[in-house]
Symmetry: C2
DNA sequence: GACAAGTTGACAATGGTTCTCAAGGACGGT
DNA sequence: ACCGTCCTTGAGAACCATTGTCAACTTGTC
């Protein structure tokens, strides 16, 4: 929590492989799918390491993680600004969207009820033009 | 999907027990917690049945199901209008909120990108007045 | 080169959720 | 009340995504 803590992140073959895989798609994929992708691209990285790396990247804000309807974690690399997603429920195609109005709305709703330290999740699902 | 399909839902002791338990709290609880509540209120209902009943109620729109950070399903009974939740991340106290503006916003964002058949999830987390 | 500390991988362990299937209960007709 | 049919249930096994374990291995530094 404090800025005193430093855990030097080492650039390993495995982390590079995960990063490469992440760069190869722009929809949300499960950890297992990403693991498969890595294998298919010729690298070999343990599943546990994939999980560890994805979690670390998520903590660092470099990937987004959300849950599909089954509660499975799905991931994709993302921009560094606060945003939400418009996801195709058929093919997974994702658009990052921003909504200042929504941010303001959640803040005021929370304040109105006396809630502090607010965060929120907002995802939009639909069928993309290509899948109709 | 069509109105031809009818699956008569029978009023059993078990379903009544789940309904009673649901009426006894107004925050989100896991299936297991609800199962425990039922035991504590003197009834005995199998865990699988609790899951089945909760899912059925969720499909019928009588309870809300969402996922906590660990991906666990959590449930609570809800009003029958479309709404979202403001949830205390410490004690779970929940407020149902409505936001016509947000509904409109998601709709237009989706349309803008050509997505059809839209649905969305929006939950707000914070610390309630009592937990600060 | 050698050391300390971060990393990894194979595999076991966890734990929520679903499946299986025989036994039990509800309901309409008689 | 009795039947037959079909929905329900419960106990436990099965699933399966995710996390923990721990010895072997890298990396960066001195």
């Amino acid at each position: 929590m404090t800025s005193t803590e430093r855990s030097p992140v080492r650039p390993t073959r495995q982390r590079r492989a995960v990063a490469t895989a992440l760069a190869g798609f722009d929809d949300f994929r499960s950890a297992q799918e990403i693991h498969d992708l890595i294998s298919r691209q010729g690298d070999s990285v343990g599943l546990a390491t994939v999980y560890r790396t994805l979690s670390a990247l998520a903590d660092a804000g470099e990937v987004d993680m959300l849950r599909n309807e089954d509660g499975e974690a799905i991931w994709r690399s993302c921009s560094d600004t606060h945003h939400h997603h418009l996801v195709c429920r058929t093919c997974g195609a994702t658009v990052e969207v921003e909504g200042p109005a929504v941010e303001r709305w959640t803040g005021s709703i929370a304040a109105e009820h006396g809630y502090a330290d607010i965060s929120h999740t907002l995802e939009i699902f639909g069928t993309c033009p290509a899948c109709r």
